[in-house]
């Protein structure tokens, strides 16, 4: 007989009402006039609030995935547009950088190119849902994140790519006045990422507008970002302003910077080392000083869903 024992973190469904409570508490604080305090106004400035609260999509919430603490997801970010220092990003991304209103342009080889407000886009996509994905950074650390958003393929159906469309090229914002990191450095701003059209069509490819049932914090890529959980984190481009359907493969920022270390595909692969460290294992964020590493899974544990995309491709060379 199979007996399922719940782990301490495996909260029952009844405990998951905290999001609504959270929103109510915000409303209450706002109503009694505390909304103007710096901390709260910071968090209330987030864009893309359409569709909350979202429903959990059980299909994309595997048992045994323990989401990382919200504070750590919010406070441990690589976002070179603001700083190279993960500890500074949260502060610098909330000093007046506006993520609302936010327009996103979809163009290239599509039948219905458009420029659309992000909330409008979510509405057109039919709202949002929550999925829990693993997130593996190329720096050999990982989190588990409950993302809110919609499947990328929904957007593709909306704009109808033509036969010429082979790749998607994503670009992030360029605003050096509010994003101090964009005032130089060795990166050719704005940040660019790309997917093949087959990768983009995969059911896992997701456009996130929230985390933990709340609009994306600025430092996590507000108001809308890509999430491709079988690839290293840098593929999941933040704060998208443009999606272009192209016939040739776009040059993504990290490949452009260090072609010997970062490729176009950047699939999570424990058998292909980074030139400076092994990718076979990972540190789990929030697990403490003495915690053991976890074995990194092929395609970050999504082999079943995505391995068919790479049949016949030499993954050692096409890293």
């Amino acid at each position: 007989m199979h007996i399922r024992k719940n782990k301490p973190w495996n909260l029952p469904e009844s405990a998951a009402t905290s999001e609504a409570d959270f929103i109510n508490r915000r409303r209450f604080l706002k109503a009694v006039g505390l909304g103007s305090s710096a901390l709260l106004s910071q968090s209330l400035a987030h864009a893309a609030t359409y569709g909350f609260p979202s429903e959990v999509n059980r299909e994309f919430r595997p048992d045994g995935l323990e989401p990382t603490e919200y504070d750590l997801i919010k406070g441990y970010n690589n976002f070179y547009e603001f700083s190279y220092d993960k500890g500074e990003v949260q502060d610098l991304a909330n000093r007046g950088w506006q993520t609302e209103p936010w327009e996103i342009e979809i163009k290239g080889h599509v039948k219905r190119p458009q420029k659309v407000d992000v909330n409008e886009l979510i509405k057109k996509a039919g709202g949002i849902e929550q999925r829990v994905y693993r997130f593996r950074c190329v720096e050999a650390w990982s989190m588990v994140i409950p993302w809110d958003g919609f499947q990328l393929s929904t957007l593709m159906d909306m704009v109808e790519p033509t036969e010429k469309a082979r790749y998607l090229k994503f670009s992030t914002f360029f605003d050096p006045n509010n994003a101090p990191g964009q005032n130089g450095g060795s990166i050719d701003w704005p940040y660019v990422e790309g997917l093949t059209i087959e990768e983009a069509r995969n059911e896992l490819s997701f456009l996130a507008t929230g985390i933990y049932g709340k609009a994306l914090p600025n430092q996590n890529g507000a108001p809308i970002r890509l999430v491709v959980p079988w690839k290293y984190g840098f593929k999941s481009i933040k704060s998208i302003v443009k999606i272009e359907f192209t016939s040739s493969r776009p040059m993504n920022t990290w490949q452009d910077l260090q072609p010997s270390e970062y490729g176009f595909y950047a699939n999570v692969n424990p058998t292909v080392d980074h030139p400076r460290w092994s990718q076979a294992t990972e540190r789990i964020i929030g697990s403490g000083f003495f915690s053991k590493r976890k074995d990194t899974l092929m395609f970050n544990g999504y082999e079943e869903q995505v391995s068919h995309l790479y049949e016949g491709l030499n993954l050692k060379r096409n890293f």
């Binding site: 504070d71 750590l72 919010k74 406070g75 441990y76 070179y80 190279y84 220092d85 993960k86 500890g87 949260q90 650390w141 450095g185 060795s186 990166i187 910077l257 260090q258 080392d273 030139p275 400076r276 460290w277 092994s278 076979a280 294992t281 540190r283 964020i285 929030g286 403490g288 000083f289 003495f290 915690s291 053991k292 590493r293």
Partner: protein, 214 residues
Amino acid sequence: MNPVAHFLRKRWFIHLLLCTPVFYVFVPALQNDTTYFADPAKYLLEYFGLTSTYLFVALSMITPLRKIFPKFAIAKSIAIHRRQIGVSVFLYALLHFLIYFAYMGSWSEFVKDWDKLFILSGIVGFVLLLSLAATSNNWSVRKLGGRNWKRIHRLAYLIMLLLIYHQATQEKTGYRETAKVFAPLILLQTVRIAIYGKHALKNRAKHDSTDITS
């Protein structure tokens, strides 16, 4: 002698100064810094590595400073603490090394990356530092003789190169941080060579034959 230079001769003060990084490390934990709690091992790894690097740079600046400005009283005062500073460079490197072990989590993980130049440069640098620290006592100086002792301690220049490489390769884009950390040292060494280049090389042979303990 000016009062600052006089004060800097005090041993207890230098010891306290060399210990401050250990106390300062608790600050982010008390401030609830998420980069600390996200991965304490990684935070401490980088913290102690950088501490050791800064002290190494400071230590390596003493000799060129003394050569370029022979009458600079502060440099003279600090120079008497070279051994203490050197040992603290090693102790912080040791912490860095031990935390790297914790960061990797197990022996099998620990040895896995030694084939990568980034890690290897750190390991070799650490072993060389260990050999310098182990011979940083009067007994070793007497036992080895001044000439051999000096020869061994010239490994510091090799350590410097390894450290620059180790520091530069951990940066993801460009070498800005490394340039900042090592700029003063490289500048001083360049000036020293420019001024004393020929002279120093000639003198070296002479110095090698004299016992520094005498």
